[in-house]
Structure formats: C-alpha cells, structure tokens
C-alpha cells in the first residue's frame, strides 16, 4: 500500500479535528440502541414462540393468585370451548376443585420456593373437570415484586392411559392368576421374576419369598429338569412328565416357553397337575391289557387244557399200572417226564400272563429282544390262526435294550393281534383266511429317527400280508379309540398304547401300509451295550447240593409243603413244618436257636408271609428267611424281599432250584 503523503495525512487529521473525519460524529446512543433493540426483539421472538406454541399452559400470577399473563395453551386448559372467557380479573385458585389446595400450595411455595409435579383436578370455566400437573416457582420481578410463575399441563389423557394400562394389567394379571396351572416367570439365569396365584398356593410362598431365587431351588424336585433347560437354553418348547413323591403333584407336566419378545432370554415355566390324566391313561392301558388277555385266554385255556390232559392222563396211567403191579421203571420215567414237561410249559405260560397283568410304572431293566420276542411268540402262538405262517428272523447276537419287558410284550402282542386280525377276520368275506407274519430284529447304528442325536438302535419289524390300511386313515391309527374293527373285536387302544409305551422307552414306532398287500410296523429302540453276566452267586453253589441245616417250612399248601420237605430231606436237611403262620412262629420260638432257615410262603390264610416275617424279625433280627411266591411283582413280596436276610424263591420250584436256593442261603451262615 502506498504510504499516504504528509500532506494527505495532515489533511485527514485536520478534518478529524474539526469533526469532519470519516468516522467523526457527535455522540449518539442510537446505533447501539438499534442493535440492542434488535437483539431484544430476537430474544423476545424466541421466548414468545416458546410461550405461544408450548403445549403446556404457562402463566404468571400475583401471590394472591391473580393471573397477570398466560399463554394460549393455558387459556385452553382453563377454558376449552370459548376464547373470550376472561373479560375481568381471575384467580388461579378458582379453578381448583379442592378449595383448600391453594393455601397449602402457598405454604409450600413460601417454604421451598417451588412446587413441582403437583397433580390435581381443575374445574374448567364451563364446568368440565380435567387432571392437571402443576409446577410453580416463587419468583421476583426486577423491581422486587414477588410473583408466581407456573406451568400447568393437561394430563387427563395420560391419566386415562395410565388407568387403562393398570386396568389392562390387572385384567392380564387376573387371567394369569385364574389359570389352574402354576405359571412362573424366570430370567435367563433361572431366577424367578413373577408367579401366579396357583404357584403361590402350591408353594405356600408369596412373591417376596421367591422372586430373585432360583427356580431350581424352589422346585428342587424338578431341579434337574430346570438345570438342563438353563444349560441348553433350547428355544423350543420343552415338555416332560415328571413324577416325584415329594413334588407338589404326583404327576406333573412342566413346559418352558421361552419368551419371544424383546430378544430376552426370559421364559415362562408352566407346571400342570396331570396326575388324574396319567391315572386315566394307566387305567386305559390296563383295560387294554385286560382286553388283550381276554383275547388270548381262549388260546391259552386250550393249551392249558392240553397240558392238564397230558398230565392227568399220565398220572391215571401210572396209577392204573401201579395198582395192577405192571409199572415198569421205563414207563414211570416216561410218564414222569411227560408230566414234568406239561407242568413246565404251564408254569411258563402262567409267568407270562402274570407279566402282562403287572403294575404300570415302567420298570426298566436290561432285556434281550430275542428272548422277549420268543416269549411273546410262545404266548401268542396258541391264539394265532393256523393258516398263518410265522417267519421270525431274530438278531444274530443278544439284542439288549433298556426296557420294561412286560410293556414291550404288550406292544408286540398288540401288533401280532392286529396282524392276525388283518389276515383273518378282517378279510372280505370271500377271501380265504391266512397269510405270512414276518418278523425280524436287526441293529442299525445309523438310525436317523432320534431327536437327541443317538444313532445306535435295535429295529423290530413286524410285517403281515393282511388287508392293509388305506392311506386316508394311516395317520389316525395311533389315536386312542381309533379302530376299524367290529365293536367286540377291539377297543381302538392297541396302537395308541403301543405308541405311548415306545415313546416312554425313547424309541419310535412307524407304520407303513399298502392296502391289499399288507402292513409293516417298525419299532426302533435305543441299543445298550452287552455286559458281563452276573455269575458270582452261581459259583457259590455247591454242585453237591447236600446240607445239614435245620429248616422250618411254613406253607398252607400241603402239596407244596410235602414236595419241599421231600426235596430238602433228600438233601440231608432237618425239616420242621407248620401249615399256618401262627403255628410256624410258635415252633420257631420253641426251637430257637435251632432253626437256621425259614422257608416261608407268602400267600397264606389268617397270617400272611409278610406278617410272619415281621414277627420273626422282631424276635430274632438275624433270622434267615426264604420267601416263596409265584409272583415276584406282588408289591408285598417286593417289600419283604428287599429286607435284610430275605431270599426269594420263585414258585413253582423243582428239586434243583429249591436245593440251590437253600444251599446258597445256608452258606452265608
């Protein structure tokens, strides 16, 4: 920039001195004033806009309540219908429904300087009532005047919504409480968040006692189940039947429903009392079994009759020959063998029938499917139509599964009965009766049907060449009471029961059928490993079955007592007998301590074997008892057998089995 000349600078200074410089002016506040006014206007606009457009009513009042300024929202809160309500002075307190409220507010204002979120009802200019929230501040104007500044919000709608919400909540709550199920909310860690009335009733605890506690602790009987859920966090609905003596319900169905909302891992636990349903189901199963037994009875009776015929024939023959003195040793052995054979077969049949009528709780134990199949076929054999040929292909090795053999027999019998019917009575009238029943058992170590990932299964196939099942009803055959048979031929429970039993065995059952060609049922059961056979006890038995102990036999059946006495005497034992329990106890006490073993019958008149045992054990806690019974599954038998120093002897027994049992007991002297 060019430096101004000396002359130029002097001229500028001269002009400035005489007041004619570029910025020279007499004093004026006006430019400042304009600037300040503009700022004020902008500020005012800003606050005015907030004031005018606010949804909340804003006002200023004198300390006596006289309103001196208010915004449009305030006007509409106080006076909804007409704009020109206020032509003269008015006081804020004239709108409060509670006439003492204002004096209380004033006291608070004086004390604290402010009142916040005060909810009350106001009566509008035209009489309508509204809920409002009031916020007041005691303020001062710049000239020191005390003034009340307030914000009033119309919360009528909010109040209504809150009421509605709490009503809805109450409604939902009472729905949940009305449920007969136990309903419990749990969080992701299994801690209880809520519980319904039924849950409170059953546990005897209220919300405060259990919220925040682990569900597995509160229902410790089902603890394993909850812990399993918590560790897997299955997103599927899970359900289980759980029975426990200490649990609130004898039979319970527990379902855990993960809550789908909010990405939470919370869940609802539902516990239902299904004891009645379970018992009904058991009754149904029993009924079905009875029906099955009835169906089998005809055939069995026939067989029994044949065995009896054989035995009686042989006996009469022997008697006749003996009386006539023509009885040869040969003839005697031959007929005795005949009698023994017939009796053994009868005994086996009785055992099988007993199995069928056993109590319902699945009694899982190691079973060989081959043996099971043979037993069932033996039982079924006599009932089957003679025109049906059975083609049975068992597994090459022992086919072990963990099962209740009685229940599995029931399933197989059901299938055989169905197959029998399909190939006989259900055939159209013109067709000849008969066909082939194909059975096979084989192992599949790559079975895909299981949901838990196990693959090693035994597969049982039962295939008939009967009439088949139409596709349209194939899906329904497992439903209870579904049957196509005539009314007196089936209850419609067979396959349904079979389905339930197989499910309880963690297996699966499937049915394929082609009408006119036949039906194939496939059962898959998880395979278990073979274990070494128990052999320790048998080794104890001396093959020389001799003994010298004193034995007291208590049995009301003379035949049994005679047989047992003969067998044990022949082994060298000293025998005492009693035909009634009371008598037996007397003898025992009389001869004590010279009785080593008591052979005790379970079923006796006057005093049962159980009662006798109880008196004996009371007298001598070390008493050794062999309990003889035809039915190990009799609960009374089971109860006694589990006691100390009691050994079970199955009836009927023969020389070998009884002598072995006695020797075994005697050896542990």
């Amino acid at each position: 920039m060019k430096k101004p000349s000396d002359q130029g600078r002097q001229e500028e200074l001269f002009n400035q001195l005489i007041g004619l410089g570029a910025s020279s002016k007499a004093k004026s506040h006006y430019p400042d004033l304009i600037l300040k006014l503009k700022e004020l206007r902008l500020e005012k606009e800003k606050y005015q806009s907030i004031f005018v457009n606010a949804n909340e009513g804003i006002f200023r009042a004198e300390t006596n309540g006289r309103v001196i300024d208010m915004n449009p929202a305030m006007l509409s809160i106080l006076c909804e219908k007409e704009a020109g309500c206020f032509n003269s002075d008015f006081y804020i307190q004239q709108f409060f429904l509670d006439s003492f409220l204002w004096s209380r507010i004033l006291i608070d204002l004086e004390k604290h300087g402010s009142v916040f979120d005060f909810e009350t009802i106001i009566k509008q200019f035209h009489g309508e009532e509204k809920w409002v929230s009031v916020n007041l501040i005691l303020s001062k104007t710049s000239d020191g005047q005390k003034i009340i500044e307030g914000i009033i919000e119309n919360i009528t709608e909010r109040k209504r919504a809150v009421d509605e919400l709490s009503r809805t909540k109450m409604y939902l709550h009472s729905i949940v409480d009305s449920m007969p199920s136990i309903l419990i909310g749990i969080d992701s860690s299994g801690f209880v968040t809520s519980l319904n009335k039924q849950a409170r009733l059953v546990t005897g605890k209220n919300e405060n006692d259990v919220v925040g506690h682990s569900i597995a602790d509160i229902f410790s009987e089902y603890g394993d189940f909850f812990n399993e859920y918590l560790s897997t966090k299955s997103h599927e609905v899970t359900s289980k039947k759980i029975s426990s003596s200490s649990a609130p319900y004898r039979h319970a169905a527990i379902t855990i429903y993960p809550l789908v909302q909010q990405n939470s891992e919370e869940a609802i636990v539902r516990i239902d009392d299904i004891t009645a349903i379970e018992e009904k189901e058991q009754q149904l199963q029993r009924a079905q079994k009875m029906q099955m037994t009835g169906q089998l009875a005809g055939g069995i009776a026939h067989d029994f009759n044949n065995y009896l015929t054989g035995s009686l024939g042989a006996v009469s023959l022997l008697k006749t020959f003996m009386e006539s003195g023509r009885l040869t040793d040969d003839m005697l052995r031959k007929n005795l063998n005949l009698i023994e054979d017939a009796s053994k077969k009868s005994a086996k049949m009785v055992r099988q029938l007993l199995t069928l009528s056993r109590k319902q709780d699945p009694n899982l134990s190691r079973c060989d499917l081959n043996t099971l199949m043979n037993n069932t076929l033996d039982l079924f054999h006599s009932s089957i139509n003679k025109n049906i040929s059975i083609n049975c292909k068992l597994a090459d090795q022992s086919a072990y599964v963990l099962a209740d053999s009685g229940q599995l027999e029931q399933v197989l019998l059901n299938l055989f009965v169905n197959a029998n019917h399909a190939m006989t009575i259900m055939r159209p009238s013109k067709e000849d009766w008969g066909g082939t029943l194909e059975i096979d058992i084989e192992r599949n170590q790559n079975w895909e049907g299981a949901s838990d990932g196990t693959k090693d299964f035994w597969i049982i196939r039962v295939k008939d060449s009967g009439i088949g099942i139409p596709k349209s009803i194939l899906q329904e055959v497992f439903n209870p009471f579904f049957t196509t048979k005539a009314q007196d031929q089936g209850t419609g429970l067979g396959l349904s029961t079979a389905y339930t039993i197989i499910q309880e065995h963690n297996g699966s059952i499937d049915i394929q059928s082609v009408p006119g060609e036949g039906t194939e049922v496939t059962i898959a059961l998880p395979a278990i490993d073979e274990e070494e056979k128990e052999s320790s006890i048998t080794e104890l038995i001396d093959h020389n079955l001799q003994g010298d102990a004193n034995i007291l036999i208590i049995d009301d059946e003379e035949i049994v007592m005679e047989t047992a006495s003969s067998i044990l005497s022949s082994c060298g034992y000293t025998i005492h007998t009693a035909s009634r329990g009371r008598k037996g106890i007397e003898i025992y006490k009389e001869l004590y301590p010279n009785i080593d073993i008591v052979l005790l019958d379970m079923s006796m008149p006057e005093m049962s074997g159980k009662q006798v045992y109880e008196e004996l054990i009371a007298f001598n806690p070390k008493v050794k008892v062999i309990l003889a019974s035809g039915n190990l599954n009799d609960p009374r038998v089971q109860e006694v057998v589990q006691k100390k120093n009691v050994t079970f002897q199955e009836k009927p027994f023969n020389f070998q089995t009884l002598a072995e049992t006695v020797q075994k007991v005697d050896k542990v002297r």
């Binding site: 001269f14 002009n15 005489i18 400042d32």
Partner: protein, 387 residues
C-alpha cells in the same frame, strides 16, 4: 493562510444551561436520562466549599443513587481515570456527573470512555479513536477557563512517560453543561487570573485558527472582548457576581470556539510544558501567549487586527508591525494587571530542557491549525524567547 484543506465546517455543542443556580438542576437533568445511579466526580477542593454536597442533594431529591469519586489531582492521571471507571462499573452506575475544574471534568470524560469502550484510557490517544457512545455526561464547571464542559477534548497525564495526552472526539462533547457563575465566586485571584488568561488564549487561537468559521468567530471575538474588559476587575473584586458572570460567559464562548475551530501553537507548546513540568495549564498558556503572537502575526495579520480592535487598541492608521507591537504590549500589560508577569525561568525551566520540550511540542496536533507553520527549530526559539 498556509493551509486550507476543507471549506466545510461543523459546530458541536452540549445542551447548555447558563446562569446563576444552573448547578441546582443537576438532579433534574440526570433524571432526564432515566438514570438510577450516577457516578459523581469531583475534587477535594470543590467538596470542601460545599458544591459537591449540593449536587448530591439535588440527585437525592430525584431518588438517584450516587457513587462519589474525588481522587483528582490538578493534572488528572491515567491511574485515576481507571480507578473512576472501575468504580462506575463496580457500583453499577449508568450516568456520570462531574463538578469541578478542568481536571475533574477531563477525568470524568476519560472515565466515560473506558466504561463503554473498555481497555485502557491511553489506548484512545489521538483523534476519533472512540467507537462506542459514552454514558450521559453532565458537567458543572467551577472555574472559568478550561471549558472542558463544552469541548471535545480531554487531556490526561501519562505519569510514567511524563507527558499529557490529548483525546479528541466529538463523541465526548458532554451531553449537558450546567454553567453556573456562582460556583466561580470561590476562585482565588491567582486561579481567576490563570484560567481567565487561558480562556483568552483559547479565544485568540480559535480565532486565528485555520479551521475557524463564522460560527466560531462570533464566540471567539465575544470572549476576547469580555476578558479584555472584565478580567482585571474580576481579579480585583472576586466577589462581584456580575463580573464573574461575564468571565464565565467568556470562558464558555471561548470553549465553544476552540472546541470547533481547534487551537494553535500556544497550546502545542503549553501541552508539552505542562506534561514535562507538571504545571497548571492556564499558567503555561499565559507565559507563552505574546511570543506566539509575535511568531504568527504576519501570517494572519488581518485576523489579529480584528482581535486588536476587540481589545480596544486604536489600530487606525497603524502598520501591521505597529499593531503587533501594540497588541503584545497590551497583553503583557493585561497579564501584569492580573498578576502574571513571570517567564519560564521562574517556573524552573532551563535552556537544557528546551530540546525535549520542542520535540514533544512539534508533534502536537494543535500545530496543525496554527496559522503559521512551525518547525522544531521555530518552537525551540519560541521556548527560548519565553525563558
């Protein structure tokens, strides 16, 4: 005339109330501004004679609160200016009233600059440096001479540099001047003489200024006439109110003239001298006056002739030089009559001080409107002649 930069002229004046008792309107006029609290600046001498108390009462009557600042020395210092400004801000004042001589009024004007413009008072040295309008200023002079109550000047002493600085701006022309001759009744003869000669210098310099105009000429000539006629009797009869009134009016008119037409070499030299020696302004002006007239005369002989006529010097038939001689003699005689006959030596100035004094004076803005251009050497000579 050596320079004539512009033919435009401006005239700025406060709202003036002149006359006996004008000071009593202080409360009313401050109230006109809507004031609630005012800073009252005064000096201990004025407070002592009771003028300050009167003003405070007048303000009280109008229910205007006051903060009183009285720490004012004869040449107001920048530290005093800043202290007064701080008081104004701390006390929450909105107006300023000053009652006193030139010192109190200059200090009030300077403090006013700081309270609205911020910064330090020395930042505003020079012409037209003030951006923001200052608070309302009501000034009540108690001496006849300084004319700070009507002028656009304020002169502050920078103590550390031992110089006086001039702040010049139309925005510090006061809002109201309450010019009350009664306040001058208490002036000592010496002060009356010095301030009276000061006013005369103001009028003469404004009249011969290159920035003079008919608007200023009337006031300058009227002031010269009044002082010439009444100053000696004012010194002799201090309690004669009518004489006091004439001198007061002279001072006011001289002030209006010089505030708008600016000054000349006397003031340039006097400013330098006053700052250097801490001497009263009026005394400096009085000592230097006739030497500057001698120096300037030929350049503005016509203007000086009119001044001579106003002093009732019979100029008819005189040559220019004769007029000059007669005028200088008249002024020396006038000064003698009021008791000022001493030269610079008497106030302690020596020859060795002159280069420094001239150096500062040569940079003074007042030289710009002096009718004759003066360089540094000219100024040294002027100081030497006045020794």
């Amino acid at each position: 005339m050596e320079s004539n930069f512009s033919s435009l002229r401006k005239f700025v004046s406060p709202e003036i109330i002149f006359g006996g008792g004008a000071r009593k309107l202080a409360g009313q006029y401050v109230a006109h501004f809507g004031a609630s609290k005012t800073l009252v600046v005064s000096d201990p001498g004025v407070a002592e004679v009771g003028w300050l108390q009167e003003i405070l009462q007048s303000l009280e009557q109008e229910q205007i609160a006051c903060a009183v600042y009285t720490d004012v020395s004869p040449n107001p210092r920048e530290t005093q200016v800043m202290a007064a400004a701080r008081m104004y801000l701390d006390e929450g004042c909105d107006t300023i009233v000053a009652i006193g001589g030139g010192s109190a009024m200059d200090l009030a004007k300077a403090a006013a600059i700081v309270v609205t413009n911020g910064g330090h008072i020395l930042d505003y040295e020079g012409v037209d440096k003030i951006r923001q309008a200052v608070p309302p200023l009501v000034l009540i002079p108690t001496t006849a001479g300084s004319s700070a109550d009507v002028s656009q000047f304020t002169i502050i002493t920078n103590q550390s540099e031992r110089v006086k600085i001039a702040i010049i701006s139309k925005t510090i022309v006061p809002d109201v001047a309450l010019i009350d001759p009664e306040t001058t009744l208490t002036m000592s003869p010496k002060l009356t003489a010095e301030t009276g000669i000061d006013a005369l210098v103001h009028a003469i310099e404004a009249f011969v200024s290159t920035a003079h105009s008919p608007l200023t000429d009337i006031h300058a000539i009227e002031a010269i006439k009044l002082i010439n006629e009444h100053l000696p009797s004012a010194v002799q009869n201090p309690s004669d109110y009518l004489i006091r009134e004439n001198i007061m009016r002279a001072s006011m008119e001289a002030g209006l003239a010089f505030s708008n037409a600016i000054l000349g070499a006397v003031h340039a030299l006097a400013h330098s001298l006053g700052g250097y020696m801490d001497l009263p302004h009026g005394e400096c002006n009085a000592i230097l006056l006739e030497n500057v007239i001698d120096f300037n005369f030929e350049t503005a002989a016509d203007r000086y002739k009119i001044i001579a006529e106003a002093m009732k010097i019979p100029v008819k038939g005189m040559t220019s030089n004769e007029v000059k001689k007669a005028m200088m003699a008249h002024i020396i005689e006038l000064k003698k009559m009021v008791g000022i006959s001493h030269k610079l030596e008497r106030v302690g100035v020596t020859k060795s001080d002159i280069p420094a004094l001239a150096g500062k004076a040569s940079k003074d803005a007042c030289l710009l409107t002096n009718p004759r251009k003066a360089d540094r050497r000219d100024i040294e000579v002027l100081y030497e002649e006045a020794l």
